[in-house]
């Protein structure tokens, strides 16, 4: 067995965003059965800035029969990453997609670096490393062929998984060359040429989801489908009031119920994201465990947050909003003075509620703890914090926690938290058997990490010409002692910041005890509603077309400070101009109580402008007739069919948040309990959606999140156009829209 390990310095990798100089590592070996096994390690961008070198790995395995097996490093939650990342490798490797087999990696950051489904980051982080992995392997195969034929490598070309010597027409498959290639020196990364995008045969071409043929037949791919021999089934009941603990429970009754093997109190801790107090029931079948759960009687100590409620938060927010912000975010010019001198002042307060994630596959995890080790099969978006949590809670070394990715039936940010993983591990530890923990829907909706509610108190000032000259914003959010709760913050760079001469932004915090966390397009999913709705109000107050008003306000083309490389006003203008064109903005006569609204947003490195057309019935019911979306996510849309699907999904997600969804806290617990009270968008509500992309001269970025935020304000702005009623509170209340 040949095994080579080389370290190289690369300049090619420095083209990536964040590109400090760094070393790249490449490891190549002969695979079992005589093929080529290439493992490719690159430092992650996240760590590059600090100089720490994590590694990213992609594996390419080529068998003698010319089958190419590519390892998908990131967890699949429906975002298509299991197909997309291997497409990048396959493109530069120059193979046909039909040759490619994909295997899901094990969760192991020491081998693979960042393995997170979150932040729409897979594309920007992996665009270069994955293509380079393919290109290096291709170069080695070409070199192997050139040696065999005693010709120059430059005189050989590749296509369809074969090397051809152009002059003589001789051909060899990669499979025939792989064993020899594995013994060759690894080319310098900087010297390996990447394809001209015009030659792409996979990138930019629609590739169906790799696992879809199995999924439409119901094959068992998800976390909840996991089976381990000897497995028991668990349910876990926590206090409905967050952080409450168990005083006593009728365990003697529960233990006598059919199928129940174990019933025990879990003392747990106080970390809302960790193992919380509760009562575990482990049974021979999930149904028996779930039935026993219904007979469970627990006396809870509800703890410190039993009094908290959505109404109480709203009262506190109103009181805080009447005062100056406790904390300052940004001050440009003198907003107070400019408002005094403004020809027209618009004042408004906006509010959005807590939201749950509610992926369709309930939280679940299968764990087998034995002999100081735990093996875990989890639908998770973020395995490493789960590994650390399990190790810490069970008092074992992280190296003794093995995590297998299972396909997730949706994530939306919920499975970035690993509370259900540690619960499964604990139940297995106590039950001394493999345990599959499955939550029911009420567990899921009442024990989430919620999108935080928020309140915004705004004043905008226009001069006599309708120019926006002042912006004052007091954001009331959640947190303690100036520490903002998870996902409850606001950046100071959100447009129109930087384009209003006199601007002040500040925030105040309500202390609370509700677990919060990232929901798809965290921050942006709420803030886009506030900023883009209020700008629409200001445009109307100025007597200007809302789309033209925003383009005017964007001003000259430049990059303003903002997330990632900054906020590029030209790209924002680009998507707005394009959506004006494709939607026929302003050019259509609409019937009474119908209207169109527009919004744009920069989030997760992507730019989206959307136009929504609605009709509002006399009873106030909102029907979305159509949505036009224009995105700029850089120079390539890697997998167009998946991209189109993802944009649809994100927009429908936004519409659901605007039309259907609210989590209410009463007496310290969540009122909603299932899809009747917390509903995803239903098919009848789904409008036709037209998706367009602008291919701009920027490295490709992600798509899971950016299309969502503008959908909400575009809808609300359309409702204003249709009815003259301004939506300032979500979800939309049809009662206020009656004719």
């Amino acid at each position: 067995m040949q095994d080579m390990h080389l370290s190289r310095t690369s300049s090619a990798a420095d083209a990536r965003p964040g590109g400090a100089s760094r070393r790249d590592f490449l490891k190549v070996s002969a695979a079992a059965g005589g093929g080529l096994l290439l493992s490719f390690e690159l430092p992650s961008i996240a760590n590059a800035a600090t100089g720490a070198h994590a590694t990213l790995n992609a594996y390419v395995r080529i068998a003698p029969d010319n089958t190419v097996t590519i390892t998908a490093k990131n967890p699949e939650i429906g975002q298509g990453v299991m197909t997309m990342l291997p497409m990048l490798i396959a493109e530069e490797l120059d193979v046909d997609w039909k040759q490619v087999r994909i295997e899901q990696a094990l969760a192991d950051h020491r081998v693979y670096g960042r393995q997170v489904a979150g932040g729409s980051m897979a594309t920007p982080l992996e665009w270069d490393p994955m293509r380079q992995a393919g290109a290096v392997a291709r170069a080695m195969l070409v070199n192997a062929a050139a040696r065999r034929w005693k010709v120059k490598a430059e005189d050989c070309v590749t296509a369809h998984g074969e090397v051809t010597h152009t002059a003589s027409g001789r051909k060899l498959t990669y499979g025939a060359l792989a064993a020899a290639a594995a013994k060759l020196p690894v080319p310098d990364l900087g010297s390996v040429k990447l394809k001209d995008p015009k030659d792409y045969t996979i990138i930019g071409h629609s590739v169906p989801g790799y696992e879809s043929p199995k999924l439409v037949k119901g094959e068992p791919l998800f976390g909840i489908d996991m089976v381990v021999p000897g497995m028991l089934y668990g349910v876990f009941t926590k206090c409905p009031v967050f952080g409450g603990s168990v005083v006593r429970a009728n365990l003697d009754v529960i233990r006598k119920l059919p199928g129940v093997r174990h019933a025990f109190v879990v003392e747990g801790g106080s970390d809302l994201a960790g193992l919380m107090p509760g009562v575990a029931i482990v049974a021979d079948s999930w149904w028996q465990a779930a039935k026993a759960q219904r007979q469970l009687e627990v006396k809870w100590d509800e703890g410190a947050t039993r009094e908290q409620s959505s109404e109480g938060f709203a009262r506190q927010a109103a009181a805080l909003g009447a005062k100056a912000p406790a904390h300052s975010l940004r001050h440009d010019g003198d907003a107070a003075a400019a408002l005094k001198g403004a020809a027209h002042v618009v004042e408004a307060s906006y509010h959005y509620p807590f939201l749950a994630h509610a992926p369709l596959e309930p939280m679940n995890c299968t764990a087998h703890a034995r002999g100081g080790k735990v093996e875990i099969w989890a639908p998770t978006q973020n395995p490493e914090p789960g590994r650390a949590l399990v190790a810490r809670t069970l008092g074992i070394d992280e190296r003794n926690v093995t995590i297998h990715f299972r396909r997730s039936g949706g994530g939306f940010g919920r499975r970035l938290m690993n509370d259900y993983m540690v619960e499964a591990a604990w139940l297995s530890e106590i039950a001394r058997a493999p345990v599959k923990l499955v939550w029911n829907r009420t567990d899921d909706i009442q024990h989430d990490f919620y999108r935080p509610a928020g309140w915004h108190f705004l004043k905008g000032g226009l001069d006599a010409s309708g120019k926006l000259i002042a912006w004052q914003q007091h954001f009331v959010s959640f947190g303690r002692n100036g520490q903002i709760a998870p996902s409850a913050g606001m950046e100071s760079t959100i447009f129109p910041a930087g384009r209003v001469a006199n601007l002040s932004m500040g925030y105040s915090l309500i202390p609370f005890g509700v677990p919060t966390g990232p929901l798809r397009a965290p921050g942006s999913n709420a803030l886009a509603f506030v900023f883009q709705s209020f700008l629409d109000e200001l445009a109307h107050a100025a007597g200007k077309d809302p789309l033209a008003f925003q383009i005017d306000l964007l001003g000259k083309d430049e990059v303003l400070p903002g997330r990632g490389p900054g906020f590029n006003t030209a790209r924002a203008r680009g998507v707005l101009e394009k959506v004006r064109e494709v939607s026929g903005w302003g050019g259509r006569r609409l019937p009474s109580r119908a209207g169109a609204g527009v919004a744009f947003y920069y989030s997760h490195l992507g730019y989206f402008a959307e136009v929504v057309e609605v009709a509002v019935a006399a009873d106030g019911q909102v029907k979305v007739n159509k949505v036009w979306a224009v995105g700029d996510i850089g120079s390539q849309v890697i997998n167009p069919t998946a991209a189109d699907n993802m944009v649809h999904g994100a927009i429908l997600d936004g519409l659901a948040e605007a039309l259907n969804q609210k989590i209410t806290i009463e007496n310290g617990h969540v009122v909603e309990s299932n899809f009747d009270t917390f509903s995803p968008l239903l098919l009848k509500q789904a409008p036709p959606i037209e998706v367009h992309f602008i291919k701009s001269n920027h490295s490709p970025t992600g798509l899971g999140e950016p299309p969502l935020p503008p959908a909400i304000p575009a809808l609300c702005n359309a409702i204003f156009a249709a009815t003259g009623k301004r939506i300032r509170t979500l979800p939309i209340d049809p009662a206020m829209l009656k004719a």
């Binding site: 999924l215 439409v216 037949k217 998800f222 149904w287 992926p359 369709l360 995803p680 968008l681």
Partner: protein, 163 residues
């Protein structure tokens, strides 16, 4: 209690409590995992199966109520011409995102197409509205159903969105 079930043309003898939902018998006793648990109270349609050809929510169907009815699940629907056409259309249109709801979607669609007629948009919306897709693949679901309903489907050139 002992029950004899006829699932996808095969006999299964099971011994479960009489109130056990068909969903959990399929998933955990017979080990057919394609029928999914989403809400447990008939709101999401992820557990849709056919009983003698009629759609039913397996989470609300107690095993004691199944009787001699033939149970068809996503694992068996491909053996029917409509099921096979739907599965092909689902792949052709590349409907799937996470895929968790799709077995239930296909089972509801198969019941909708069972009468051999091409459904109107209104009929598709009315029947399929009970199947939640949290990823939002609804527009592709509509297209795939229409494609599967075409009598010449399978011979016509494939269409794929977003190309």
């Amino acid at each position: 209690m002992r029950y004899t079930l006829h699932v996808n043309g095969r006999r299964h003898n099971v011994d479960v409590d009489s109130d056990t939902p068909l969903l959990w018998v399929l998933r955990d006793t017979i080990n057919l995992k394609g029928t999914k648990f989403g809400c447990g109270i008939g709101l999401c349609g992820a557990c849709t199966v056919h009983l003698d050809g009629a759609p039913a929510r397996a989470c609300l169907t107690a095993i004691s109520d199944v009787g001699n009815k033939a149970v068809t699940t996503i694992e068996g629907i491909g053996a029917t011409p409509i099921g096979a056409r739907l599965q092909k259309a689902w792949l052709d249109i590349d409907v799937v995102q996470c895929g968790y709801c799709q077995p239930g979607q296909i089972m509801s669609a198969a019941a909708l197409l069972a009468n051999g007629k091409t459904p109107s948009d209104g009929e598709i919306d009315a029947v399929m509205n009970g199947n939640i897709c949290r990823c939002g693949t609804y527009n592709r679901i509509r297209i795939a159903i229409k494609q599967a309903a075409q009598s010449d489907f399978g011979t016509a050139p494939n269409k794929r969105k977003g190309a």
